[in-house]
């Protein structure tokens, strides 16, 4: 099993390196580049040149590249071109907001999806199942930001129960913090949960048909114990996969939902920096997003070792 873990970790690191390299070359391929965008109408050849020098853009590309790699390794992310703030600072401000939304989304999504999937599978073709299936379809047909708009409309504008703008940091109290991210979190969690729920349902249905479930029945094991002790762990394996892969949905959802609720998270940062050609910020945000995705997938791979004994203990022995 250790080989498995090491392989996955090495793979993750490799992908990250690949991402960093691509970001580097990609951003430098932008027509126009940051300099002309920044200077805009005041762009004169001299000013442009000065700025280029300042940004180190005149160095040969391999020098820039190694500088970039070193910077990354030492977590030196440079400064924002628009505000001269350290990029790290900007990101540190924005990240917790996006993370909070993501966390609520995952908790709400999984918290609803897993039980719903189980109920749906065990009551296949009954009204509960049909309802849940249709609800799941609806859920995954709505983009997170639209759900956000609807929620904001109903709970914010019409019922006036929850705030629809801005973010309250945890430091100012748990309740206010929760209030500010509940709607965005649920908005993102709904489509996510819908996908997971469908997988839970279909996976459990498949497991219930497996021969070993018949064996359990023939042994006289009760129905609830059969479901939770015999079936569930097996059924969760593909669910874990999907839940991990679809975290990308959560990330994307958070990015768009931030706009709806006026939360200055990574999404805002990304979009603004792209429009401003503020590439030190853009590249760090992209890297961060990729890193989160790559490492959550890694975590999912490692989670398998806990859930699937076949991976934990390798192959057959005589």
């Amino acid at each position: 099993m250790r080989r498995y873990v090491l392989k996955r970790v090495a793979h993750a690191v490799f992908i990250m390196w690949l991402v960093a390299t691509t970001v580097f070359f990609g951003l430098r391929a932008i027509p126009g580049g940051p300099v002309s965008a920044m200077l805009g109408q005041e762009s004169t050849p001299e000013a442009a040149q000065a700025l280029r020098q300042q940004l180190g853009l005149n160095d040969p590309w391999y020098v820039q590249y190694s500088d970039w790699m070193v910077d990354l390794a030492t977590f030196d992310f440079g400064q924002s071109l628009t505000t001269s703030q350290p990029v790290a600072e900007l990101v540190m401000q924005a990240a917790p907001r996006t993370a909070s939304i993501g966390a609520v989304a995952v908790v709400v999504g999984l918290g609803v999806a897993v039980p719903a999937g189980i109920v749906s599978a065990t009551r296949k073709r009954e009204s509960v199942d049909y309802l849940a299936t249709v609800a799941a379809f609806l859920g995954l047909s709505m983009p997170a930001f639209f759900v956000g708009i609807l929620l904001a409309l109903v709970f914010g504008v019409w019922l006036d129960l929850l705030p629809v703008f801005g973010y309250t940091p945890l430091a100012e109290g748990v309740a206010p913090w929760l209030e500010s991210i509940l709607l965005p979190g649920v908005a993102v969690g709904l489509p996510y949960g819908a996908v997971v729920m469908r997988m839970m349902r279909s996976s459990l249905l498949e497991v219930l048909d497996e021969p070993y479930m018949k064996t359990a029945l023939a042994k006289g094991v009760g129905s609830r114990v059969r479901l939770y002790k015999h079936a569930l762990q097996n059924a969760l394996i593909p669910v874990v996969t999907v839940a991990g892969i679809q975290l990308a949905l959560v990330l994307v959802g958070s990015v768009t939902v931030e706009l709806v609720f006026g939360i200055q998270g990574l999404g805002r940062l990304l979009v603004d920096s792209m429009l401003d050609r503020n590439y030190p910020v853009t590249q760090v945000v992209i890297l961060l997003v990729s890193a989160v995705l790559v490492f959550t997938n890694l975590a999912v791979d490692l989670a398998y070792t806990a859930i699937d004994p076949r991976i934990r203990y390798g192959g057959e022995s005589a």
């Binding site: 006289g220 097996n234 022995s317």
Partner: protein, 365 residues
């Protein structure tokens, strides 16, 4: 709850056993069917079969004969939407069809147990082999361990207590089926066992509560030939050791000739012939049985040509012929299609066959 029930039924069993005439298992006129969109599939059509204490009975049939459904009917685990619609199944004199779901659950794995064809997939990959055996013990024997849902989940997360009675019993059973290093193997997962060992583990699980009857559905089909022989020997020894009667369901005549005391032959949902094993092979009477044996290669008659039975097993929906084998039978007469053949003595020691062309009347022909 479970232990209470088993105490009750064993009390009943004792009184029933006192009247020697009661067979261990008595199936009378059993009929199991499946409603489908194309019609009703009658998988088991008026089947009678008995198993006495200490016997190994073989039920032979091709795929599609209904033998697996028959086995599952006895256990009460027929897949939905199949259901038993007629006849009776008596275990030690008590009708199983009268019993409540809870009572049946108490019987399954306890007095009545079953092993399946596919050892690869019949063991749960997320539970250790030892736990799967210990679970059976906990369910049907009074070992003072709870089988409630919370207790089971706790056991799943933390593993079973290693010096509990149930676990020790599991190790004993693994030793009984000759799995080496049973104690450490009990903590292994099914994928770490080879095919033959997995089947042994299944047998260990099925016999752990010393059932009165073990039903083995194609126990050796998925195994290598050499392993097959070992498993069959195993079964025979264990039968004596645990005082368990066995009903073996198979399509393989070799298996049957190897271990069975008595044999019943099944075709298209019906039993067509029953006899002692030796008698059946020496003197098959029903045309289908004759056909089966004629199409099986034999070491003692190497130069005989193999005669296959022409045609295919019929679709079990609505067979219009009185004798289901008539269309493929070389000896069929008109009455075979119209009159349902009854069982008639055709040989020694209770050798019976359901064929109008056999039996005492034949002597007169």
């Amino acid at each position: 709850m479970n232990t209470m029930d088993s105490v009750d039924s064993s009390a009943e069993a004792t009184s029933a056993a006192e009247s020697d005439a009661t067979s261990l298992l008595e199936v009378a006129g059993l009929r199991t069917q499946f409603p489908t969109s194309r019609g009703t599939v009658i998988a088991v059509d008026d089947v009678n079969l008995t198993v006495e204490r200490g016997e190994i009975v073989g039920l032979v049939g091709e795929s599609g004969s209904g033998k697996s459904v028959f086995a599952q009917s006895i256990m009460g685990i027929v897949d939905h939407p199949g259901e038993i619609v007629g006849g009776d199944i008596r275990l030690d004199g008590e009708s199983l069809l009268d019993k409540s779901d809870a009572a049946l659950e108490a019987l399954r794995g306890g007095r009545l147990s079953m092993i399946f064809q596919d050892p690869m997939n019949s063991l749960n990959p997320t539970l250790t082999v030892g736990e799967q055996i210990a679970e059976t013990v906990r369910l049907h024997q009074d070992v003072g361990e709870s089988v409630s849902l919370p207790a089971e989940l706790k056991r799943k997360l933390l593993g079973a207590t290693k010096n509990s009675e149930a676990w020790r019993r599991a190790i004993e059973m693994l030793e009984a089926v000759e799995i080496p290093e049973a104690e450490s193997r009990a903590g292994d997962y099914p994928h770490e066992f080879s095919g033959g060992m997995r089947q042994r583990a299944m047998i260990a699980m099925a016999l752990s509560c010393e059932p009165d009857l073990l039903i083995a559905d194609e126990p050796t089909t998925a195994l290598d030939v050499t392993v097959q022989a070992q498993i069959l020997d195993e079964l025979r020894d264990l039968k004596d050791e645990f005082d368990t009667s066995i009903l073996i369901i198979t399509h393989d005549l070799a298996v049957v000739s190897e271990v069975c005391d008595r044999v019943a032959v099944m075709y298209a949902g019906e039993i067509v012939e029953q006899a002692d094993a030796r008698e059946l092979f020496d003197n098959p009477r029903h045309p289908y049985t004759q056909g089966l044996i004629a199409s099986t290669p034999r070491l003692d008659a190497p130069n005989d040509r193999l005669t296959p039975i022409e045609g295919n097993v019929p679709d079990l929906i609505d067979i219009p012929y009185a004798c289901h084998f008539a269309p493929r039978c070389p000896e069929a007469e008109r009455e075979c299609f119209e009159i349902a053949p009854d069982f008639r003595p055709v040989g020694e020691d209770g050798h019976e066959a359901a064929c109008l062309r056999r039996g005492p009347t034949e002597e007169q022909l």
